[in-house]
């Protein structure tokens, strides 16, 4: 066998990435890697969650927190400081559970240290890991060792000691330190030792750093997650009988965001400690996230409501969570009664903004519509809930916007179902693809048919420029009608109708093509009649169907096939 080098290249393996300061895009890629790897390992992390409450949700909480945070900052941030800051702010709002809140504080400290730096160098990376660890400790009045805190601190210490200067080397050293600390957690915390596991939150942080590094190196995270451990069976039995006493057992994990943040945080913390334990009071800017394990969640909420406005309220019954966690794996239900929707081979979840668009999707067989749209991207949780509610174990998700794809993938990884995310870029494309869907065919057959359909459709979106931008060197002022073809800015025009026509012209459809035109709530009857008449005059052979889409931000959304 002979091998031949491609012109201009040698046969050497690709060089390792250079360890240069990280741009915002680098950092975003790193967080994305961390998020995907956390999602993938969430079940393995959940499986060893015994402290402070054995409720088996640490992995899901950490993955959900970072995932939701990332989904809301995907676009627009340019500098490293902006990315870190946006992730931290969003994480505070999306934080779930004890470990999620601690992670949000860790991210907050990280962002503090990055500040407004446009790039993240090795020195700043080490400082960020240190500040992150400090903030995580500060969130708890009595920080316990042998937990995620220990792992965070040891990661920071190792990062500081890194002899090399680049951020990649710092994160790699931090990961090594984190792994060592994780192995020692059972020596520091007796409950871990008794249950025969390492700390779940610490494991989560190790996973996060692993994913971060993979993202920085431009590698895909492994397809297979870490092997899942499990607490000792005898320990679980003992825990079960310990917790069996009161009717509420472990009580309720109660969380909310309080706005504005009260002046005296210590007073708030002290009041909460009288109501429960595992108290976290985590301030950020003008608000504060509160987490407490309480017997009476009502008392906690009343206390908060007396001090300001509450948002992001979440109350979970930890006894029920524990019972689920500690229960032997249940046999599959013989015949799920009370299922809302009849089960089908494959189901579709579609993200769409606009009643008309949603109606078309339902008429084509979509089971669940998640509300979305230009400025209202759904969270990972919302997509996850839709996937879980879909009447099949095989689900296809149509995100219909590039900023929703990652959230959809994260929800897919968390769902425990067979899920394929088809990266549709617009509502028009998503609906065209949906036409190829058949509920009674297997997942793979549908995916293939829908991918084929995706290749045959071009989509047009007519909207207004959100900011002043440039097209072919010409300035497009904010507010001017523009058309995007397949998600890319292609045309600017004086009117929305003009933009639509120019976009069709640019695609140059063959005579026998079909155009499906969804007009938005802002388009008057006169305007759309005029647009339809002009299209008919210019392309007499084109098969045009006009539908009220009900979308808000796009004057027209169109599919050309």
């Amino acid at each position: 066998m002979t091998s031949r080098a491609a012109p201009g290249r040698t046969g050497q393996p690709p060089r390792p990435p250079q360890d240069h300061p990280l741009t915002g895009a680098d950092l975003l890629r790193a967080f994305a890697g961390a998020s995907v790897w956390l999602q993938r390992n969430a079940p393995a992390i959940d499986a060893i969650n015994v402290y402070p409450v054995p409720d088996g949700d640490t992995g899901a909480n950490m993955a959900g927190t970072l995932g939701a945070a990332l989904a809301s900052v995907l676009d627009g941030a340019v500098s490293a400081g902006e990315v870190a800051g946006a992730v931290a702010r969003a994480a505070l709002l999306s934080a779930r559970g004890n470990s999620g809140v601690i992670l949000s504080q860790w991210l907050g400290g990280f962002a503090d240290a990055v500040g407004s730096a446009s790039r993240l160098d090795g020195r700043t990376a080490a400082a960020a890991l240190t500040r992150a660890s400090e903030r995580a400790y500060a969130a708890l009045r009595e920080p316990a060792e042998g937990t995620i805190l220990t792992v965070a601190r040891e990661a920071a210490v190792a990062g500081q000691k890194s002899p090399a200067r680049g951020p990649l080397a710092v994160f790699a050293a931090a990961l090594a330190g984190a792994r060592e600390a994780l192995e020692r957690t059972p020596q520091m915390l007796s409950v871990l030792r008794e249950a025969g596991v390492v700390d779940a939150g610490g494991f989560g942080l190790v996973v996060l750093l692993e994913g971060l590094l993979a993202g920085l190196r431009g590698e895909d995270v492994p397809a297979q997650p870490h092997a899942a451990g499990a607490p000792d069976a005898a320990w679980l039995d003992a825990a079960r009988s310990d917790a069996g006493g009161g009717h509420s057992g472990f009580g309720y994990c109660t969380q909310f965001v309080l706005h504005p943040a009260p002046e005296a945080l210590e007073t708030l913390r002290a009041a909460l400690e009288r109501l429960g334990d595992s108290v976290i009071v985590a301030p950020a800017a003008d608000r504060v996230r509160v987490h407490v394990h309480a017997r009476d969640p009502g008392g906690v909420l009343s206390l908060g409501a007396g001090m300001g406005a509450l948002t992001q309220i979440a109350v979970e019954n930890m006894q029920a969570q524990f019972e689920r966690f500690a229960a032997p794996p249940a046999p599959p239900a013989p015949d799920a009664d009370g299922a809302a929707l009849p089960s089908q081979q494959t189901a579709v979840v579609a993200v769409l903004g606009g009643d008309g668009l949603a109606n078309v999707a339902r008429s084509l067989g979509a089971s669940i519509i998640v509300a979305g749209g230009a400025t209202a991207n759904p969270t990972v949780d919302e997509i996850l809930a839709a996937i879980r509610a879909a009447p099949s174990d095989n689900v296809i998700v149509l995100p219909n916007h590039k900023n929703v794809v990652l959230a959809a993938e994260q929800a897919a990884a968390l769902s425990g179902k067979q899920v394929v995310v088809l990266p549709t870029r617009s509502a028009a494309q998503g609906l065209a693809v949906l036409a190829a869907f058949q509920a009674e065919r297997p997942l793979a057959v549908n995916v293939e048919a829908m991918q084929t359909a995706q290749q045959a459709v071009r989509s047009i979106e007519v909207t207004r420029a959100a900011r002043t931008t440039k097209l072919h060197g010409v300035e497009v002022p904010r507010g001017q009608p523009i058309a995007l073809i397949d998600g890319r800015l292609a045309v600017a025009a004086a009117t929305p109708g003009g933009a639509l026509l120019a976009a069709i012209e640019q695609i140059a459809p063959p005579a026998d093509a079909a155009l499906t035109l969804y007009y938005g709530v802002g388009v008057s009857g006169r305007q759309r009649t005029a647009a339809a008449r002009q299209i008919g005059a210019r392309w007499p052979e084109l098969d045009v169907q006009t539908i009220a889409g009900g979308q808000v931000h796009y004057d027209y959304v169109a599919a050309l096939e």
């Binding site: 008429s363 190829a436 359909a453 026998d512 093509a513």
Partner: protein, 283 residues
């Protein structure tokens, strides 16, 4: 002597049937009280003109058992000792049932076998042609039955409809029911699977639909014959046939109408193709 009987949904012309030595029993189309024998009293071009422009929605009915009894009796009288009667899918029409009743008391000295083709149009015709070849070359009833049966899983029908309306009205929609209610004006491509109408793909434009029909037909290996069929879309059908001739030189490709009875359910302006594969093994 072995003789082959089929029905008018095989879309054979009178001359073709004569040349093959096949007896065709017509179904009936009704416009109101007016009863017309399929492809005898009414030809496809006239039928689709009436379907498009007329106000009456046609109905169809199977031949009577008595009609089959007469046909079998006549063939026996002319010397047939064996008869193979191959018909439209029993899930689509009661024709096979009528034939079975007509054969309940077979003429003396004549053995009659029924075959549910599980298909229609070019698919049914392919089975009939195979059986007729075997009869012509002196084969017996069992050989013809086996050969025709072997073709049932070895053909594919793909028809692009202009609308699902006629399938629905006629109660023949089968599993394509899931497609009703679409707010988009889509062109469905249907197949006949397990004897009934099965949904395949649906696309927004006619051009892409025809493209899909071409691909779905062209990808079937070992084509023996391709039937391009239509219900009044002659230009599309001719263009499609030219593509098959270019893609598979040497394979006979003919363009023919879908007859009035099946057309009642397919509706006007449909175009599709049926590909029949060569027999397997050394035959």
């Amino acid at each position: 002597m072995l003789r082959i009987v089929t029905d008018s949904t095989a879309d054979l012309d009178t001359e073709e049937a004569d040349a093959l030595g096949v007896t065709v029993v017509p179904l009936t189309v009704y416009f109101g009280d007016e009863a017309l024998l399929d492809r005898v009293d009414i030809q496809p071009d006239e039928f689709y003109a009436r379907l498009k422009h007329g106000k009456l929605v046609p109905r169809t009915s199977q031949p009577s058992a008595g009609r089959f009894q007469d046909v079998y009796g006549d063939l026996a009288a002319a010397g047939a000792t064996e008869i193979l009667s191959i018909h439209i899918s029993a899930k689509l029409s009661g024709t096979l049932n009528a034939a079975r009743l007509g054969a309940a008391a077979p003429p003396h000295g004549c053995q009659i076998e029924m075959l549910d083709s599980g298909t229609v149009c070019g698919g049914l015709q392919a089975l009939v042609r195979r059986a007729a070849e075997i009869a012509d070359s002196g084969g017996n009833l069992n050989q013809a039955l086996n050969a025709a049966q072997a073709l049932i899983p070895r053909h594919r029908i793909s028809i692009m409809l202009d609308t699902l309306e006629y399938l629905q009205k006629g109660g023949r929609i089968g599993r394509a029911r899931a497609w009703l209610g679409s707010l988009l004006n889509l062109k469905p491509i249907v197949h006949v699977e397990d004897g009934e109408v099965a949904p395949g793909h649906r696309v927004r434009s006619r051009a892409r639909g025809i493209e899909r029909v071409f691909d779905l037909t062209n990808e079937v290996p070992g084509a023996e014959r391709i039937y391009v069929q239509h219900t009044g879309a002659a230009n599309d059908a001719e263009a499609l046939a030219r593509r098959f001739r270019a893609a598979q030189p040497g394979v006979p490709v003919d363009v023919r109408w879908i007859g009035p009875v099946v057309g009642t359910y397919v509706g006007p302006n449909a175009v599709g193709a049926v590909v029949a594969q060569r027999a397997t093994g050394g035959s």
